[in-house]
Subunit: 394 residues, 2 copies
């Protein structure tokens, strides 16, 4: 029977059949007080958690092509419904076979609903019960995003994991306003779920600012509606770090054990370590790719600013212990030269290194959790950074 199959179906058919068969699934492998280890299964492949997802807002992880993402063992790419809806337009992408085909990325894609972008990038945002009216940050054109439209857009893009449309408030906001935002986010989450037509996993987004009772209300209401996973939104927007972690720890304690938890948009290396410790499974952040473009390179002993004159004649790689393409082939002196000369190659090589650092950090975190030595790992992680603070690179 197995010998006959290849004659009936091409490999491409197999891919299509596989995607039709596979539903989203989260498998929690291990949970301790130090963090959780698990895996996500999606129509476009598996991903291990805790997971870091590089950001490709406009359908491209800035400066890299899909083959570098594959080489780096990127598992899930994050794209943005708001940006792609405005440009090139969701119909364009749908007609060209969906976002995977459009951007040439075969792995899983998570799309953000666009809530955060609308509230942070747009002018003249009008919040209404039915949705949010906004003017494009590109050309000022007027648009209405409803929770239904947000789902429709993300389904048209063909994402594997999609997000409910949420209301994002600035920090600080009065408790009354935060409560209203939570209630609207809940109603929108319910409407979004009702509008879902495809099989993409749908995540609800817990809001509530720094108010634990509102976070509880939000989480419980979303859990009652029932989602494939739960995200923590509205954090790291100006509140104290102590408050951030209090909310993360408190909220993760409320969420279902057998479903993934996604801390949206937060991701210094320290954030990953601290988030995992509080039960977070998924992260995304522009930091590694953005810092690559400003010449800030991640190392175990802290950030290295490659613009610094001290690197002008430095023959070492960014991190002698790193095995990324950049560190295997190029000196700090060359990378500094490229950056100072504004050569495009600087952004490519820096991005490869920074993403490699993040993905390796996540692999190390996973292994440490599996081997029950996360606290030891964490101590070493901070020890190296403290040493680095003396500004003496090894």
């Amino acid at each position: 029977m197995l010998n006959v199959l290849p004659k009936l179906c091409s490999f491409k058919d197999f891919g299509v059949i596989y995607r039709l068969m596979v539903q989203f699934r989260f498998c929690l492998e291990k949970e301790t007080a130090e963090g959780r280890v698990g895996s996500l299964e999606t129509p476009h492949g598996k991903a291990l958690t805790p997971l870091f997802m590089p950001v490709g807002s406009h359908g491209s992880v800035k400066a890299l092509s899909p083959r570098e993402l594959e080489e780096l063992c990127v598992e899930v790419v994050l794209a943005n419904a708001y940006h792609l809806y405005l440009r090139p337009g969701v119909e364009v992408i749908r007609d060209l076979g969906g976002l995977h085909a459009f951007m040439g990325w075969k792995g899983p894609i998570l799309t953000d609903s666009g809530g955060y972008q609308i509230f942070s990038l747009c002018k003249l945002v009008r919040l209404m019960p039915e949705g949010v009216e906004f003017r494009s940050h590109l050309d000022g054109s007027l648009h209405l995003f409803t929770p239904e439209r947000a789902i429709e857009v993300q389904e048209a893009l063909g994402a594997d994991i999609i997000m409910s449309l949420d209301v994002c408030l600035p920090y600080p906001s009065e408790k009354g306003r935060v409560q209203e935002a939570v209630e609207l986010t809940t109603r929108w989450a319910r409407r979004g779920k009702g509008a879902r037509k495809g099989k993409a996993a749908l995540f609800g987004i817990v809001q509530g600012g720094v108010f634990l009772d509102l976070r509880r209300k939000s989480a419980e209401a979303l859990m009652e509606i029932g989602f494939d996973g739960y995200a923590l939104g509205g954090l790291s927007v100006g509140e104290e770090k102590r408050q951030t972690w209090e909310v993360v720890e408190f909220t993760c304690g409320l969420l279902p054990q057998d479903q993934p938890r996604y801390l949206m948009g937060m991701g210094t290396p320290e954030d990953l370590v601290e988030g995992v410790r509080r039960g977070v499974d998924m992260f995304d952040c522009v930091l590694p790719t953005r810092c690559a473009r400003t010449g800030e390179l991640f190392t175990p002993w802290g950030k290295m600013n490659i613009k610094n004159a001290r690197y002008a004649r430095d023959p070492d790689p960014i991190d002698p212990g790193c095995d990324c393409y950049t560190c295997r082939h190029f000196s700090r002196a060359y990378l500094r030269h490229l950056f100072m000369a504004r050569e495009l190659l600087a952004y490519y090589l820096n991005t490869i290194h920074n993403l490699h650092y993040y993905l390796k950090l996540m692999r190390e975190i996973r292994r440490a959790l599996q081997e029950d030595r996360f606290e030891e790992f964490r101590r070493e992680f901070y020890r190296l950074r403290e040493e680095g603070a003396t500004e003496v690179a090894p």
Copy 2:
């Protein structure tokens, strides 16, 4: 004996020994009225002629890393002594093991002396018998380049092929001034040759503007000094195309048959075809990499401007007949989107395509010459472009 060698020398040693042993050599395989086929041997490897050399002025072919250059089968990279001398400084590169090690490129490197850049980019250029004084286009600092210094800089960079310092005049210039420039260029070429310490191949640069008698004087004087190859400089600076080709054809007719001829800085696809036909062996041009960054993509039927709205929903690759990474994976619609969104990936993918087009064109030219059907190839080359002029892409 052969079995013993690997125990005595590592592969790295072999590389060093090979480079010490191999001298520059040009081997003319075939010459007809339609063009010449041959090869260059250098300490860093072989290259087939007619040859196109991508430009990496600052020690990086813009937007690409060495592995893309290898994938594209780039044979020789051109770098610029002027740019690297100013930034990061030639001592920095020398101390880091030379330009090959600095930029991670294992193949041959040709460096331009900097004459053209000094005369075209700098302010307050003071031409003197001993050399040229100029102010850096970066910070206004004062520098003196002599023919000896130009050789010293290029040898310190470790280039395989280096160029004499020449005097470049604007077009049009009076014949008297051109004659003086030719005479100074000749004297500088002699001094440069005398200053050579290493084994890099040294090319003389024929000047003389559009004056055939001065071109003859320049060529004959340089041949009397004796160089490893001869370049044609000061062309495509504003003169009529008819004049350019008259000079190229005339000058190539004077140069030694058994040495390579290099037409500097000229390189539309038509230029390559017409140059080969007049006996040119080597070309360099920023066009494929620069156009990549302005969204102009080369195809057999002419340049495609990817910004054009007609490509917004176009599912085809840039050129359905092209097998570069870009064309194998991405649609015109995606490339247009990346370009409009100013995504860095646009420059990377466009550069890969444009360089692939150029290198493939050169391979086709070589094969056509070898198979005695260059005129047929040339007719087809122009036929496709004329069809393309109707603005209907296939």
